[in-house]
Symmetry: C2
Subunit: 290 residues, 2 copies
C-alpha cells in the first residue's frame, strides 16, 4: 500500500524515524504527471534502497513569470495509481504554500553551471531546482536520489549543489527513456498536437545524426551544428532555443570533438519547449582497432 504524506512535518518526522531504524531511503523528486521516464527512475531507486519516496510537487520557483506554472499538466489521482503499481512506499504531496511561505526568501544559487544551455533562456530555473531539491533533501533525508539524464544540466546542477553544500545523498543519473518513435519522454509532450509530432521528432533525429557524423570521423562541432540546424528549421513550427556541443562537465562549448562531448538542444515546437541530449562518444586512440 502506497502511503500518502501531504505535510512537511509528517514527512520529516517519518524520514527521521526510518533513518533511525536503519532503513535506506531513496527519493525520486517529480512534478507529477508521471510517464515511463519517471517510472524508470522509480525502478532504479527501488533496487537500491529499502524505502522509496516519490515527491509530487509542481515547483513554482523554477518557472519564470512567462512560463507554464499554472497550466503545467497535473493528475494526482493517476500519479498515485502509477506509484502504487510501481510499489512506491511513500508519495509526498506538499501544498505550494507549505514549501514557500508568503515571506519566503532563501535560495540556493550556483555561479557557473546555470549560465549555459537552458539557463540562458530560463534565468530562474536552476535556482528554483537547486532550492527545491535542497528543501526536499532536508525533508525526505534520502540516502540516494535518482534524476533523469534527459534534464542533463539539471542533473549536473544537483550533483554540484550536493557536493558543494555537503549533502550526504548519492545522486544517480538514469538514462533517457524514449517513446517508440524516439521522442524523449516528457510531461510536456502532452501539449503536442499530432501534427507537431514529426517536428518534435527532429530533436531525436538530430542527435542520432550528430552521433553518426562523429562516429564516421567528423570532429568539427560547428559543421555538425550547422547540419542539425538545417534539419530542424526545415520542419514547420520549430523555433530553436539552443543547439550546443559542449564539455559534459562544465557545459562550455567545444570547437573540436576530441573527447566525448555533450550534444544538447532545446527547441520550441509550436508553444511547447522540448529538450533532448546525448553524449557524442569519441573512440580514444587506445581503443581504436588498427
Amino acid at each position: 500500500m502506497v502511503k500518502i504524506i501531504p505535510t512537511v512535518e509528517k514527512m520529516q518526522e517519518h524520514a527521521e524515524s526510518l533513518r533511525g531504524d536503519g532503513w535506506r531511503i531513496a527519493c525520486v523528486p517529480t512534478m507529477g504527471f508521471l510517464h515511463d521516464g519517471h517510472l524508470s527512475l522509480m525502478r532504479i531507486a527501488k533496487r537500491r534502497a529499502d524505502v522509496l519516496v516519490v515527491s509530487v510537487f509542481v515547483n513554482p520557483a523554477q518557472f519564470g513569470p512567462e512560463e507554464d506554472f499554472e497550466t503545467y499538466p497535473r493528475n494526482l489521482e493517476r500519479d498515485l495509481e502509477l506509484c502504487a503499481k510501481e510499489d512506491v512506499d511513500i508519495v509526498f504531496t506538499p501544498k505550494t504554500g507549505a514549501l514557500y511561505s508568503d515571506d519566503y526568501q532563501s535560495y540556493v544559487k550556483l555561479e557557473h553551471l546555470p549560465h549555459h544551455l537552458c539557463g540562458l533562456s530560463r534565468p530562474v530555473f536552476f535556482t528554483g531546482v537547486a532550492t527545491v531539491v535542497c528543501k526536499l533533501f532536508n525533508i525526505v533525508r534520502p540516502h540516494i536520489a535518482v534524476f533523469g539524464e534527459k534534464d542533463y544540466q539539471q542533473l549536473l546542477v544537483i550533483r554540484r549543489m550536493v557536493q558543494d553544500l555537503n549533502f550526504n545523498t548519492e545522486i544517480i543519473g538514469a538514462p533517457i527513456v524514449r517513446e517508440k518513435d524516439g521522442l524523449a519522454m516528457s510531461s510536456r509532450n502532452a501539449y503536442l498536437t499530432p501534427d507537431q509530432r514529426p517536428a518534435a521528432l527532429t530533436l531525436y533525429r538530430s542527435l542520432v545524426q550528430a552521433r553518426k557524423r562523429v562516429e564516421t570521423g567528423e570532429r568539427d562541432a560547428a559543421r555538425i551544428l550547422k547540419e542539425v540546424r538545417d534539419l530542424i528549421t526545415a520542419q514547420p513550427e520549430t523555433d530553436i532555443d539552443y543547439l550546443s556541443i559542449c564539455d559534459p562537465e562544465t557545459l562550455i562549448d567545444v570547437e573540436r570533438i576530441d573527447r566525448p562531448a555533450l550534444m544538447a538542444l532545446a527547441v520550441k515546437v509550436g508553444k511547447t519547449r522540448l529538450i533532448d541530449n546525448t553524449i557524442l562518444p569519441v573512440s580514444s586512440p587506445g581503443s581504436r582497432s588498427v
Copy 2:
C-alpha cells in the same frame, strides 16, 4: 577527552552514527579565537544535548575582498584547551579547501534580510554565513545549534534560512556576553589598543542611553539616534557604519517606538569594526502602572 575531527567525511560519518544511536547533537559554529561569549554558547548547548560539536573554521566566504580574512585572529591550540575545559565532545576543524573546492559555486542567498544593517557595508557577508551554516548543518547534522545575539542579524538570517530550506535543526539565540566594562565580547576586540577602549565603550553606552530614553517615554527614533550619533562622534577614531532602530523581525527602520524595537549599531574604532545591539523594550499599556 575532546575529540578532534579534521575531515568532512569523518565528521559526517560520526554524526550519522551518533544520530543513528539516538544521541542528541548540539552544534556551536565558531571562527575560533574563542572568548567568554563562545563559552556561554557552549554551556547553553551542552545543557540541551548529549553531544556537543564545536566547529572552528574561519569562513572565507563571509569576508569581503577588503576585509580581514588573512589577519583574522587564530589560535587553535588555545581554542582546543578552552573546549576541553568546557567539556566539548568534538571539535571539528576542517581545512579551507575541504569546505571550498577550487571549483566551488553553490551559495545560499536570502532576498531581504541581508539588505539592512551589516549587509549594506558587507555585501557578501550573509551569503557566506548562510552558506557555511548550511554546509556545517549537513556535515554535523545537529538537532540544535546555538548562536549569539550579538550577531543579531546573523541569527535572524540563520533562523530564516533554516525555516525556508526546511533544516530540521532548532536554532537557539544566546544573550550577549560583555566584558566587565560593558564592551560586547568579540574576537576582534583583540585588535583594539588600550587607547581605543573608551571609544569602543561608547557602543555599549549608546545602547544603555537609548534604553533609558525609551524607558522614560521617548518614542521618536530619530531623536534618540541623533543623541547617540553625537555621543559616538565625540570620541576619537570613531567612524559610524550605521545606527538603526528597527523592527526586530524585518530589520526595517521604525520612526516611532510603539513596540519593542531593535537598536543596532556598527562603528569602526580605528581599523576595528565593532557591532552591538539591544532590544528597546516598550511597556505595553496593559502592563503600565496607573
